[in-house]
């Protein structure tokens, strides 16, 4: 059924939207500080996987995008010596999140481009369907 295109593009948009949300979360928390490495905000990234519905089904070879989950980056947080900071620990250090803002900006561009791609696919498919409805008239 042709309406599967809408499902597929929709799942792609959903995944990219989540990615954009995570970028927003990462960028807005890029400067948050904490007094220990465990408490500090860590960069979050989505994990995408192709959802091969009924992989062995000969009629359905197309796959939607599945978001397996969100992982936290394992990179070490940035340690900064700031003894007068209210969050400073007993040694005078604060911990800043490991978000790489440049990386996140690139990530944002990529996500929004992919989102646009899916929208274009959807629009074209919609036009095709509308034309099909007018067939023979």
């Amino acid at each position: 059924m042709a309406l599967r295109i809408f499902d597929i593009a929709g799942s792609g948009m959903n995944a990219q939207n989540l990615r954009l949300n995570l970028v927003a979360s990462n960028i807005s928390n890029a400067n948050s500080a904490a007094s220990s490495a465990a408490e500090v905000y860590k960069s979050r990234q989505p994990v995408f996987a192709a959802e091969l519905d009924k992989a062995m089904n000969t009629q359905n070879a197309t796959s939607k995008v599945n978001v397996l989950g969100v992982i936290e980056s394992q990179d070490a947080p940035v340690m900064e010596y700031a003894p007068h900071h209210p969050m400073a620990n007993s040694d005078g250090y604060i911990f800043k999140s490991n978000v790489n803002t440049v990386e996140e900006m690139a990530n944002m561009m990529s996500a929004s481009r992919s989102y646009q791609n899916n929208i274009e696919v959807l629009n074209t498919a919609k036009q095709m369907m509308l034309q099909t409805l007018k067939m023979g008239q």
Binding site: S11, G12, F48, S63, R113, N117, V121, Q127, M135, G136
Partner: protein, 130 residues
């Protein structure tokens, strides 16, 4: 003589169904452009045409233990695309290529639609006899 839609419309309905399916596959490729290890897929119109021009006989599964043939759509194998450049995450989708193919497919779909409309208007003309 009765009007038979199968013969009146020719190969076009099949072509339309194929274009629709291919659109789905290309949409899936585009949607998974950022999915690690996703392999882009596509179908070849030529091989589909060859299959439907031939007798169209395919191996039948008469027993539950028989192994199903490879993923087949319209009698043609669903192929994996050979990327121009491989990416480190194992994804073989090249967005520009897929976009171009999708646009091509959409135009071809519209062409098939036009042909069918032409056939319909031919039928209408002959029905009216004017």
């Amino acid at each position: 003589m009765a009007i038979n839609f199968d013969t009146a419309l020719g190969i076009e309905p099949k072509a339309l169904a194929f274009r629709e399916k291919r659109g789905e596959i290309l949409a899936a490729n585009l949607a998974n452009a950022d999915t690690p290890n996703f392999k882009a897929r596509d179908m070849d119109f030529k091989s589909v045409l060859k299959q439907s021009m031939a007798s169209g006989e395919s191996m039948e599964r008469t027993h539950a233990g028989h192994i199903a043939p490879q993923q087949q759509l319209f009698g043609a194998n669903l192929m994996y695309r050979n990327p121009n450049q491989v990416s480190l995450d194992g994804n073989t989708v090249e967005t520009q290529v897929e976009q171009a193919k999708y646009a091509e497919n959409a135009v071809q779909y519209q062409a098939s639609l036009q042909f069918i409309s032409g056939h319909f208007s031919e039928l209408m003309t002959s029905l009216r006899g004017q």
